[in-house]
């Protein structure tokens, strides 16, 4: 049987058209055919699927070569900006009475979902002790909001995140979200861990303020009045009965304005507060929250470390990155320094952010590297520590690589990590801080040793 003529001619003509750009120099910019496909036809290499992509990625990013000799690159802290954190951790590790190390982690959507932060929290608490869940919002402003170990449900609240609020008074509490509620507004928070000993409600005292009730496992703890002649941030700390699992907070009279609940324990340990706002960018702290009000919130929480982790949302606005980002970052740092001068500040760069490139590959958003460079320079100039998440993950193109692993480490938007990807980033941050702390302890030991040696060598009078 001869070849079917017409189809054969069509196929041969198509073959010629496809190969024309490779044969005719003037068409060389219009390649449509990848010649390596020909070799791939007879390539019988099985597709390699990793059974443990997370572990392998961690191994790739942090090969276990001598930590003694290898500086931990992603964490840049030449001036010892993290000393206040390390000193607090030292006391916590020694289980000194009331030695709670408090960390406030401000960020955007991954932080909102408690991705990365939940992993860092659990690592810190495993090594240094668990001082409780820390701060949680009153209800879920976004379905995406979460705090690992807490089940939060609320209804009847007028919820206003600082970046999208109708309210322009800047009074948004520690978590940059305000919850206004009248009759019927209530929230129920279920704790997986029943060993918390206290809950602290943060709210706004104001003229004509109503009251709210706090209940533990159905039993009333207290009715809190929020009326006050002046508008002022207030906090009500309440003891929790042993084994309390379900906390309910409900409006009782009038209208109240709440911010969040902080769950704590009596024991020494780490309290790692996840403070994310969906779609947040640096201006939320630089401008949208009232400086005095936010400063009061920071002072009340007495953090040993404040992490400023923004940049993902800004990175697609190249003009903002080039003209305004630095100014806004400086303003935020200045606000934190003014409010809590004793706290260490860590600027944490955003993760890689992917986008489809012209050739179909997943590359990095162009302005991201510039934004990370700005953060690093500002951190150095302002005496802050810097964590280069972007480089720690593997630098440009990481999102593309992580998207292609099975199971995927990032979502299809090339922005948000899947829980496994978040775990890797959380590990990278924690390991870097842990290494910094180890060096701190080593230095203290050396100094002590030198002092002892000096005092021993000084002849007695």
């Amino acid at each position: 049987m001869p070849l079917p003529r017409k189809v054969t001619f069509t196929l041969l003509s198509l073959g010629l058209l496809i190969t024309a750009p490779d044969l005719i120099p003037v068409l060389k910019d219009y390649h449509v055919f990848d010649w390596t496909s020909v070799a791939k036809v007879v390539d019988f290499q099985p597709r390699v699927r990793s059974a443990n992509p997370v572990e392998e990625e961690q191994q790739r990013l942090k090969p276990e070569i001598s930590v003694e000799k290898t500086p931990v690159r992603p964490l840049v802290d030449p001036k010892g900006a993290l000393e206040p954190l390390y000193a607090a951790l030292f006391a916590t590790e020694r289980k000194e009475a009331g030695a709670i190390t408090r960390i406030l982690h401000y960020g955007d959507s991954p932080t909102t979902a408690d991705l990365i932060t939940a992993d860092v929290r659990s690592l810190f608490q495993k090594d240094f002790g668990d001082a409780g869940h820390g701060f949680a919002l009153v209800a879920k402003p976004w379905a995406w909001y979460g705090h690992r170990g807490l089940d939060i449900k609320g209804s009847g609240w007028k919820i206003e995140p600082a970046n999208t609020a109708e309210l322009k008074d800047g009074l948004f509490g520690l978590g940059a979200v305000s919850f206004r509620g009248g009759a019927g507004a209530q929230s129920r928070i279920v704790l997986k861990d029943p060993t918390h000993s206290e809950v602290e409600v943060s709210f706004l005292s104001q003229p004509d303020g109503g009251s709210f009730g706090v209940f533990a496992d159905g039993n009333p703890l207290e009715i809190v009045e929020t009326e006050s002649p002046v508008v002022t941030p207030s906090f009500k700390k309440l003891k929790l009965p042993d084994g309390a699992r379900e906390i309910r907070i409900a409006n009782v009279t009038g209208r109240v304005r709440l911010y969040g609940l902080r769950f704590g324990k009596d024991t020494a340990g780490v309290e790692y507060n996840s403070l994310g706002v969906n779609g947040a960018y640096i201006s939320i702290l630089a401008r949208m929250v009232d400086e005095q009000h936010w400063g009061d919130q920071l002072q009340h929480h007495r953090p040993n470390l404040v992490i400023i982790n923004y940049g993902t949302n800004e990175s697609v606005y190249a003009k903002f990155v080039d003209t305004a980002f630095e100014r806004e970052l400086l303003r935020t740092i200045a606000r934190v320094k003014k409010a809590v001068p004793q706290a260490a500040i860590l600027i944490m760069s955003p993760m890689d952010r992917g986008q489809k490139m012209d050739d179909g590959s997943i590359g990095t958003v162009p302005a991201l590297s510039r934004l990370v460079a700005i953060e690093q320079r500002v951190a150095a100039e302002q005496g802050c520590a810097f964590f280069n998440t972007f480089e720690a993950m593997g630098g440009p193109g990481t999102m593309g690589r992580w998207y292609q692993t099975e199971p995927r480490l990032v979502g299809a938007d090339f922005i948000h990590p899947m829980p496994n990807g978040a775990r890797i980033v959380g590990n990278l941050l924690y390991k870097s801080l842990q290494e910094g702390y180890r060096r701190h302890k080593l230095r203290i030991a050396r100094e002590k040793f030198a002092t002892i040696k000096e005092s021993n060598s000084t002849p007695a009078n």
Binding site: M1, V7, L14, I18, A143, S361, A412, D413, H416
Partner: protein
């Protein structure tokens, strides 16, 4: 080797050029096709070179036995062996991790490791292979004495990944037909179908997947209810364009080799009720389930059993798609809906005039199908419930659905509901066009795919099954 990859088309073109000159000798033609089939399997995993010939040869021997023995007991034994073989393969290479996981969950022990799962779902192979022995058992077909034809038919590469599930006996008939020729019109239709399949898959399905569906299903909490709803509709369209695109490429590829495969889709989202939907969606699977499973279940004369059998059939059909509870729920939903629809029709009488206009019935059928797709697409029950929960939030922003996305969605909807006549005119116009015009049209499509579609196409959804 995906049916949308350049590697596949090099393979197909080479096979076309080799096959037709050799096909004047029946055995040589079959041998080159069999070689191509096993080559195709080997591209996925070399283990198939052992598994598929062994399974097919056993089925061939069983077929000879069914042709020879007339005693019911022996025939039952033989067909049971074939069922055991094919369903055993399916269980061993697809369902063991699922069974182990559930066992571990119930028993409270760690799940035993199971390393014998393969990249290529063998569900299609097993079902296609079973058509041969089941047809012989029911005396609906005659056994072939040609091992070569049988091996070629059971492993025919265009149907390997995702159907259409074709009766092996029909394929054998076509393979054994003497003086095969490729009619120029069929050749043109084959190329048209391949081009159309690529367009459906790469320009529509993958675009919807990458720009909305995957994002919404990954992180439903980041999107408003309206966006999630659009995401669910977009998934319904993605799945249709992905699977029907694959089917077009498969049917076109087979037609290039002179083999005609059955149709698999007929405007499924125009169905007037759920039973109608299953006459239009994945037709080859619906027929298989009806002919080989539903009709085999007992209680046909009982008042209640046929309804239960529908649910059983669809539940097993759901499980056939994947080893997960999501697919079971999807199957149960469709089974229950079909049972209710059938009950309603029996009560009202088959010829009764419907109370509601056709568009109304189609609208609600599509809503139900899309709701069930949530379970089909979600990776687990938790994700499915998150999607449903987010739909219930009733938030209305649509800022994440871009202008181009709306346009692609509109094209996808219009493409699905396009009447057959203009489509057929377009196809016949291509068929009648001179060869160089055909080549230019195909080249234009390749350029469009190169510059518009996302490169590095995602695998066809149904190849996972």
């Amino acid at each position: 080797m995906l049916l949308s990859s350049s590697t596949y088309f090099i393979f197909l073109a080479a096979l076309f050029l080799l096959y037709w000159p050799l096909s004047r000798w029946r055995a040589a033609g079959l041998a080159i096709l069999l070689f191509a089939n096993y080559f195709f399997y080997a591209k996925w995993d070399l283990f198939y070179l052992f598994l598929i010939p062994l399974g097919s040869t056993i089925d061939f021997a069983i077929g000879l036995g069914l042709g020879r023995f007339q005693r019911p007991g022996v025939r039952k034994l033989l067909v049971s062996l074939s069922l055991l073989l094919n369903l055993g393969l399916l269980t061993a290479f697809k369902y063991m991790p699922f069974l182990f996981e559930n066992y571990a969950h119930v028993a409270g022990v760690p799940a035993p490791a199971w390393h014998w799962t393969f990249p290529l779902g063998i569900s299609f192979y097993a079902f296609q292979s079973l058509t041969y022995t089941l047809d012989l058992y029911r005396r609906d077909a005659k056994p072939t004495r040609s091992l070569l034809a049988h091996l070629t038919a059971t492993s025919f590469f265009p149907t390997t990944l995702a159907g259409p599930i074709t009766r092996v006996a029909d394929l054998i008939k076509q393979f054994e037909r003497p003086n095969k020729q490729l009619d120029p019109a069929d050749g043109g239709r084959a190329l048209f179908l391949i081009g159309l399949g690529l367009l459906k898959k790469l320009l529509i399905a993958d675009y919807l997947a990458e720009n909305l569906v995957n994002r919404v299903f990954d992180f439903p909490g980041l999107y408003s209810s309206a966006e999630v709803l659009v995401g669910v509709y977009a998934y319904a369209l993605q799945l249709y364009y992905d699977f029907s695109g694959y089917t077009d490429v498969a049917i076109g590829s087979a037609l290039l080799l002179g083999i005609k495969l059955p149709q698999n889709f007929n405007m499924p989202y125009a169905a007037a009720n759920i039973n109608d939907f299953w006459r239009r969606w994945h037709i080859s699977l619906s027929n298989w389930l009806r002919d080989y499973l539903f009709f085999s279940l007992p209680g046909k004369r009982n008042a209640v059993m046929p309804y239960c059998n529908l649910i059983i059939t669809m539940t097993l059909g759901g499980l056939w798609h994947g080893a997960s509870w999501n697919f079971v729920i999807w199957g149960v939903l469709h089974g229950v809906a079909q049972a209710i629809a059938r009950g309603w029709q029996s009560w009202r009488g088959a010829k009764a005039t419907p109370w509601t206009p056709a568009w109304f019935r189609t609208f609600w059928t599509v809503q139900f199908v899309c709701f069930a797709w949530i379970f089909f697409r979600a990776t687990n029950l938790e994700q499915a419930s998150k999607i449903i929960e987010q739909l219930g939030e009733l938030s209305y922003a649509t800022t994440n659905v871009s202008g181009p996305l709306w346009i692609v969605l509109a094209i996808a909807v219009a493409g699905h509901y396009l009447p057959k006549v203009p489509f057929e005119k377009l196809r016949e116009g291509f068929v009648r066009a001179p060869f160089f015009v055909q080549a230019l049209v195909l080249m234009a499509l390749i350029v469009a795919i190169q510059y518009i579609a996302a490169t590095g196409a995602a695998p066809f959804i149904y190849t996972n099954f």
